[in-house]
């Protein structure tokens, strides 16, 4: 839930004196330390060519990677959060919403719409982690619920790509209720025999994991994604012990039976299409 405490990824330039390139042209891989040419990194789907580290990517980029070009039509793009509790810490919730919207990405922490995956129609909801840490308040819960309901109406599979610190504290009880609301919608989808695929990317924690993100007919993660209920720091403080190596990483969850598979970004679309056509009994 600590979305504003996220690590600032070091964007250091390798050997500044010798190379002398403007900042931003190079990106340092936080996993292997390699300095990568940003343009090349982007061309490689923001995956480190040396160690395979999956960098976080924007919701728009994700949609481009998963859907056929030009097939996406967005729904509920104008929906915005309101500070109905008049929630204040160092800043008011309203000013945080305004600041996040002003960044110009999306109007809340999720983008939803329908599109085609190698011609197969799907409902797709993608979290935008850069918007308040992908936290789930009323807007996120409502948009996901509508995406599921559209899946129900149109008889299409539903895919949610999560990247979220969990429920949005500033909406207190109503953010908690989004967990119940979205899960209830999934109960209907399940009853109607329509597939729900949950894709868990780095990071997926808290109330998002403890609702729809763990309820996929298939739960698929990106390599090394942090996935958990409680945050590592909270656990460490509670049990007063060091956490095991690789704790709460995708590989750890796979080993403990919580995921169907870990799929690299470059293989995600093809994998989704392959399993969805089988689940939907589309002829090969």
């Amino acid at each position: 839930m600590a979305w504003f405490k996220r690590d600032k990824a070091p964007m250091a330039v390798k050997d500044e004196k010798k190379v002398k390139v403007p900042e931003g042209l190079w990106t340092k891989c936080p996993s292997c330390g390699e300095s990568l040419i940003t343009k090349d990194l982007e061309a490689n789907l923001n995956v480190c060519p040396k160690c395979g580290h999956h960098f976080r990517i924007s919701a728009r980029r994700r949609i481009d990677l998963l859907l056929d070009a030009g097939s996406f039509s967005e729904y509920d793009a104008g929906m915005v959060s309101v500070d109905f509790l008049d929630f204040k810490d160092s800043k008011s919730y309203q000013s945080r919403i305004d600041a996040a919207v002003a960044k110009g990405g999306s109007k809340d922490a999720i983008i939803c719409g329908s599109g085609e995956m190698e011609g197969l129609k799907v409902q797709l909801a993608v979290f935008d982690f850069s918007f308040m840490g992908g936290s789930m308040g009323s807007v996120v819960g409502e948009k996901i619920t509508r995406a599921i309901e559209r899946g129900l109406e149109e008889g299409t599979p539903v895919i949610v790509v999560s990247a979220s610190g969990g429920a949005r504290m500033q909406e207190s009880i109503l953010s908690l209720m989004q967990m119940a609301k979205t899960s209830a919608a999934l109960a209907k989808l399940k009853a109607k025999g329509l597939p729900f695929i949950s894709i868990l990317t780095d990071p997926t924690t808290g109330g998002v994991t403890a609702s729809f993100a763990m309820l996929g007919d298939l739960n698929i993660a990106e390599p090394k994604a942090l996935i958990g209920f409680a945050g590592p720091r909270v656990i460490e403080q509670t049990i007063r012990a060091k956490l095991p190596e690789g704790f709460q990483r995708a590989e750890y969850l796979l080993e403990h039976g919580m995921l169907d598979m870990i799929v690299e970004r470059s293989e995600m679309k093809a994998t989704l299409h392959r399993v969805l056509t089988m689940l939907c009994r589309v002829a090969a």
Binding site: F84, L174, M179, A210, M214
Partner: protein, 317 residues
């Protein structure tokens, strides 16, 4: 309660009540009934003064009071024939959630609730009311059993939250909670939920998707504990009072957002002052709500429950 445990804000009341006790002690030798009556009247006024002007943080203290009635207390006071059922059939039996068959007004129901402990030993045994995945899976097993036999479900919610531990994560705490949310949404028997103390986030919600959600007057219900919220917002877990004000977790706050259906008034001074009186109020509310729900078909219950939670949001578009 013989051994009253006072909260900070009850200090003046504590002094007065102690004085009354002393006088009562002395009155064996002389008639002090007039003085006692006078002090008792003042204590009554003071109680009503304190408890009608509670801050949200003070309410949270009452919600966590060590003598507050817990699930097993209500089971004794309201139900008959309680027969506890154990285990999730997968891994273990979680003592932070209790459940089993019981009769309410003579009719069979399934009762499930968080359970805290009062003394140190029981607190540890109950893991301070913080369930592991096994607790939620036991709860789900019992709920599905209730559905199988057509029994209404009553849940009592009182937890600081789901336990944040290594084993809990390994065994799928998130999955256990998530599954309960989805399965409860589809159950075809009536579900009445009562927030009796602390409604701590997902760990509370995992047994709180119901047709009716009732809340005791001095209970709290929020997405995060005040201390947890303070630790994130101000990097200072001691600023719970400030965080409680921001989170607006009281029954009155929650009622205004239409997340609960009814607030159950507590005896003056809090439910811990008079378990029997609290149980009586709760019993009446359970009987009345159950009667209303029993006329509905399974399909109707599921659809109305869906619409109830479907509406819980605030946004503009």
């Amino acid at each position: 309660m013989a051994n009253q445990v006072y909260m900070d804000f009850e200090k003046p009341l504590m002094e007065l009540e102690k004085k009354i006790e002393e006088l009562a002690e002395l009155s064996r030798e002389m008639d002090l009934s007039k003085e006692i009556a006078k002090l008792e009247k003042r204590a009554e006024e003071m109680r009503s003064e304190i408890f009608s002007n509670l801050s949200r943080w003070q309410t949270a203290q009452i919600a966590r009071h060590i003598n507050r009635p817990f699930t097993l207390d209500y089971l004794k006071l309201i139900f008959t024939d309680f027969t506890e059922l154990h285990g999730d059939r997968l891994f273990g039996d979680d003592h932070a959630i209790v459940g089993g068959l019981a009769r309410l007004d003579g009719e069979a129901v399934m009762v499930i609730g968080h359970q805290k402990g009062r003394d140190t030993k029981e607190k540890v045994f109950r893991n301070f009311g913080m369930p592991n995945p096994e607790g939620y899976r036991k709860a789900l097993r019992l709920m599905l059993m209730a559905q199988q036999f057509g029994l209404p479900i009553i849940t009592f919610v009182d937890t600081p939250g789901a336990f944040p531990g290594i084993g809990a994560e390994e065994r799928g705490q998130a999955e256990a909670i998530a599954r309960n949310l989805r399965e409860m949404a589809g159950l075809t028997v009536p579900i009445i939920v009562v927030i009796t103390g602390e409604g701590g986030s997902g760990g509370a919600l995992a047994i709180a998707v119901g047709d009716r959600v009732l809340m005791l007057e001095h209970s709290v219900y929020a997405v995060i504990s005040p201390e947890g919220c303070a630790a994130i917002l101000w990097s200072d877990g001691t600023k719970g009072a400030q965080a409680a004000e921001a989170l607006k977790p009281t029954a009155k706050d929650i009622r205004e957002l239409d997340v609960i259906d009814e607030i159950l008034p507590e005896p003056l001074g809090g439910a811990h002052r008079d378990h029997e009186a609290m149980a009586k109020t709760l019993h009446e509310a359970l009987s009345r709500n159950l009667k209303e729900l029993k006329g509905k078909s399974g399909e109707q219950l599921v659809e109305e429950r869906y619409q109830k939670f479907r509406k819980m949001s605030r946004f503009v578009e």
